[in-house]
């Protein structure tokens, strides 16, 4: 590995950082500046405050030296804004996939011509900051960098290296402006022409192109520790590879291959690699991708074009936009350039719907169908509550993000759909399976007995707890009895959102993800009829329950590919965990690849695989210093294990791992 790599790994670049204690909010309030004026001014000041740092041997430059972004609103102002609007998370634009590529191909000066006054101001500031780097490059005698920075970002990139540097500058600027979960989009599709031209000219060999790409990938990790989401690592720097173009041609190319390799070699949590595949994906591509899985980063995450594209079209996305889909921070399907979907606006808890119906309706339900209708009613009621609660959505205007989008982002985009996650489907399906079997079919348990047992957290009914938990059909065993219930739940969620119009004129999309709600929603209810005790978390995303005894990954795949995903295509993967030993030889790697292929061929929508090593994680809890580079996947992002809070660590440890 290069000198720069080790420098970053050892966090030596943190020495260049400082924080600022500007009280901008008070100043802006006194001056009576509008939100967009505040954003434009803060960006200008930050660009001026940023210092140009070029590390020895570094190919792709730009390093954050100001570690914080001072608030632009006073607390009182922010409260007032929140009182009048629905504010999503932090209030800044996030989870968008901007059009980096058009800008890389035209240059910022050209973009400036059509930008509004704040966009022009932002562009001027980025160029000024870039010129500081240019001056530093000259001072250091770095002729290569002088050449690159003389061209970009002012003018179009002329080659692979300039394209990468240009991308880095744009991405850096988006973060500095205050946007977050800034995704990368279909990188291999748009950057490949630059690489190809250079390869044709003989400028790069496979290895030298890879080395440059590794340096570029490293740049995503230089500042990621200050891009903290719910936990460190939750930063949304997602890259999409492969997939088809609007004519149905396979996009996968040399750059896609190099990206898989660079990620594998760097072994860092950014960028987060996604791979689009379909029935026509050749088997050896899965083998290549599985080599990255083996590296233990939780990449790549697979999305199935055969399933995702038609579902997006059915939701109203144009064919061209649907074929161009990528993912937001984690796995939510979004459309680059023109899409302004808020793909993670809220979440619906299936187990809560079951819990409410259990207490309200089980004692009066005469059949299981009656009871399920009550559950459907609760899902609908929860969707009513969520959807009606989102009014007057407002984002803090970001002038530079607006420059990079092919739509006026202040007004919304071509698509303004809201995505709602669906949490704990396995807990709910398993609970309903128990109710169906014992209360309605065998009649071995009365409604009152079950409710009392659940409400007492099974304190006085250990035998029932054991039976519900370990001897009752569970999702993940290719058993239609339970799998069919999961299908019905997903359909119910999709139906509950269908036809609703959101406050921006878009639709609501049902999803199969959980994000962090697998912990939050689990604490909203007590124990559940599947034998889950109170405070025990749900599985993440579209996964089986944590304690479900399953036959193995083949049956899990069968169970989790039966559902009608066209009704719930906001995104959220099935996760499978494999012990490291599975990947010990080429043969094992190829077989895991075949299993993925099988998932895709069966019509699964999204899949994410983890390589886990329980022994290492347990040891890392005791000796964190020895495991600084141990990476684990959380819900839609990967993180350094030792930097996670204990509850997230414990959840990863509790997940099922398949060994051989």
């Amino acid at each position: 590995m290069t000198k720069t790599y080790n420098f970053i790994l050892e966090k030596k670049h943190h020495q260049f950082r400082h924080s600022v204690d500007w009280n901008l909010a008070e100043e802006y309030a006194e001056k009576g500046l509008s939100p967009i004026q505040r954003m434009a001014d803060r960006f200008e000041r930050l660009c001026k405050e940023e210092k140009a740092v070029i590390l020895e041997g570094e190919q792709i430059v730009f390093l954050r030296t100001v570690s914080n972004l001072p608030a632009i609103f006073t607390d009182a102002e922010w409260e007032e804004i929140k009182a009048g609007h629905h504010i999503h998370e932090l209030g800044f634009l996030s989870n968008l996939s901007p059009n980096y590529y058009d800008t890389i191909a035209t240059g910022l000066l050209k973009k400036r011509e059509t930008a509004d006054e704040y966009g022009k101001q932002a562009i001027d500031n980025i160029i000024a900051l870039s010129d500081k780097y240019l001056a530093e490059a000259r001072a250091q005698g770095r002729e290569d960098l002088v050449e690159v920075l003389t061209q970009v970002p002012r003018y179009p990139a002329r080659n692979f290296r300039e394209a990468l540097q240009f991308f880095r500058i744009l991405h850096f600027a988006l973060w500095l402006e205050g946007n977050y979960h800034n995704t990368v989009g279909r990188f291999d599709r748009y950057i490949y022409p630059y690489l190809k031209a250079d390869m044709d000219k003989g400028i790069y060999t496979y290895d030298s192109a890879l080395a440059l790409l590794e340096d570029f990938f490293l740049s995503f990790n230089k500042d990621s520790d200050i891009y903290v989401g719910v936990q460190q690592g939750d930063n949304g720097q997602s890259m999409m590879l492969g997939g088809i173009d609007e004519e149905g041609n396979d996009v996968y190319n040399l750059l896609s291959e190099l990206c898989l390799k660079a990620s594998c070699n760097n072994k860092m949590i950014d960028p987060k690699i996604n791979l689009r595949v379909s029935k026509s994906t050749p088997a050896d591509r899965y083998t290549e991708a599985t080599k990255l899985t083996k590296a233990g980063l939780g990449f790549p995450q697979y999305s199935n074009d055969d399933v995702v594209i038609p579902a997006l079209e059915a939701m109203g996305y144009d064919h061209v936009d649907a074929t161009n889909y990528t993912v937001a921070a984690c796995w939510e399907f979004i459309v680059p350039n023109v899409g302004a979907d808020v793909a993670n606006i809220s979440a619906m808890s299936y187990p809560k719907a079951v819990d409410t119906a259990l207490h309200k309706s089980l004692s009066t339900a005469e059949t299981y169908e009656d009871f399920f209708a009550a559950v459907e009613g609760e899902i609908k009621a929860e969707c009513d509550r969520i959807c009606s609660g989102i009014k007057d959505l407002w984002f803090i205007p970001s002038p530079f993000m607006n420059v990079l989008m092919d739509c006026n982002i202040y007004e919304g985009g071509k698509y303004n759909n809201f995505g709602i996650h669906g949490t704990g489907i396995a807990t709910a399906a398993d609970s309903l399976a128990a109710i169906k079997k014992y209360v309605f079919e065998e009649k071995s348990l009365t409604a009152a007995e079950l409710i009392a047992a659940v409400d007492s957290n099974f304190e006085n009914t250990p035998e029932l707890l054991h039976k519900l938990r370990f001897e009752t059909p569970k999702l993940g065993n290719n058993d239609d009895f339970v799998d069919g219930i999961a299908t019905a739940l997903l359909d119910a969620f999709g139906a509950a959102l269908k036809g609703r119009v959101n406050c921006r004129g878009g639709i609501f999309r049902a999803g199969t993800g959980s994000a962090m709600y697998y912990l939050w929603h689990a604490n909203e209810i007590g124990a559940s009829p599947d034998g889950r005790r109170e405070k025990e978390p749900f599985g993440t995303n579209y996964s089986v329950s944590l304690f479900a005894k399953v036959k193995g990954p083949v049956s899990v795949i069968a169970s989790m590919t039966k559902q009608h995903f066209e009704n719930a295509m906001n995104g959220g993967p099935l996760t499978l965990e494999f012990h490291q030993s599975v990947f010990a030889d080429e043969d094992g790697i190829e077989k895991v690849g075949l299993l993925v292929k099988n998932f895709i061929d069966r019509g699964g929508h999204q899949l994410q695989l983890n390589t886990v090593n329980l022994e290492k994680m347990l040891d890392a809890q005791k000796n964190p210093d020895a495991y600084k580079q141990l990476v684990v996947r959380i819900w839609g992002w990967s993180a350094y294990f030792v930097e996670l809070d204990r509850e997230y660590q414990d959840h990863v440890i509790a997940r099922q791992a398949y060994t051989v």
Partner: protein, 254 residues
């Protein structure tokens, strides 16, 4: 035909070609001191106690009326931690086959076949043969110690597509010492295997100072000649299951 198995593993990646499903037969005539599947040794169902999860609630000692608990003197249906599990399930060959075929249906073209492992699958030859009939024409593989009478060995391998057989120790006295039996039958069956037209693989587990000696490996090489040969590295952590079964792991600390 009824037999006893102790596990079914989906997606076995080290047990033959393709994505396979492996069935573990319960009961083995050998007693290799390094065995990492101790629940495969005796033919009868056994209680496994996962002590690490036990909270000491003692509920399993309260008398119950479950017929399957009686022989163990503990209730296996009450533990909130699932510390008690029975290793060993008696099952009819036809029923087992239809359960197993589900994974073939799921995997379609990517399915490799079934592998019979254990324990020693040849210790239940009639059960194995009826299972083989039920599972044809899938690709079928066995992992065996090769310890059975030559007639049975010949009858079974004739029906299989791939044979993985252990030759652990070349010296019969040492074989007796470390596995509980001599190797005469095994070597005899090896010559049957070698003279058959069946594709096969010979495996030797590398046990430090026992099988993993220059002398033993050279002697095995001498016996098997140019046969395909795989040497399996050994993990001492494999001893974990002995304690759960109330058995002693003879390799402890080695």
């Amino acid at each position: 035909m009824i037999g006893t198995i102790f596990d079914i593993k989906e997606m076995a990646v080290h047990d033959g070609p393709g994505i396979r499903t492996t069935v573990f037969f319960k009961g083995c005539p050998l007693r290799c001191i390094w065995c990492h599947n101790p629940e495969g040794l005796v033919a009868q169902p056994q209680l496994m106690f996962k002590e690490a999860r036990c909270t000491g609630c003692r509920r399993c000692f309260v008398q119950c009326n479950h017929p399957d608990c009686r022989k163990f003197g503990r209730c296996i249906h009450v533990c909130p931690q699932n510390c008690l599990e029975v290793a060993g399930r008696t099952v009819e060959a036809g029923k087992l086959a239809s359960e197993l075929k589900a994974s073939a249906d799921i995997l379609g073209d990517t399915f490799g076949g079934f592998t019979f492992s254990g324990g020693e699958p040849l210790a239940q030859p009639e059960f194995l043969l009826s299972l083989i009939e039920e599972l044809k024409p899938h690709h079928l593989c066995i992992e065996t110690s090769g310890y059975t009478d030559p007639d049975t060995f010949g009858r079974v391998i004739e029906k299989l597509d791939y044979i993985i057989m252990d030759i652990k120790l070349a010296d019969s006295e040492k074989h007796q010492k470390y596995t509980g039996v001599g190797n005469e039958l095994i070597l005899k069956n090896f010559s049957i295997l070698k003279n058959s037209s069946k594709p096969y693989l010979i495996r030797t587990p590398l046990i430090p100072d026992i099988t993993d000696t220059e002398e033993n490996l050279a002697a095995i090489k001498e016996i098997i000649g140019g046969s395909p040969w795989e040497k399996l590295p050994y993990n001492v952590a494999a001893g974990a299951k002995y304690k759960m079964l109330g058995m002693k792991f003879k390799m402890e600390g080695k």
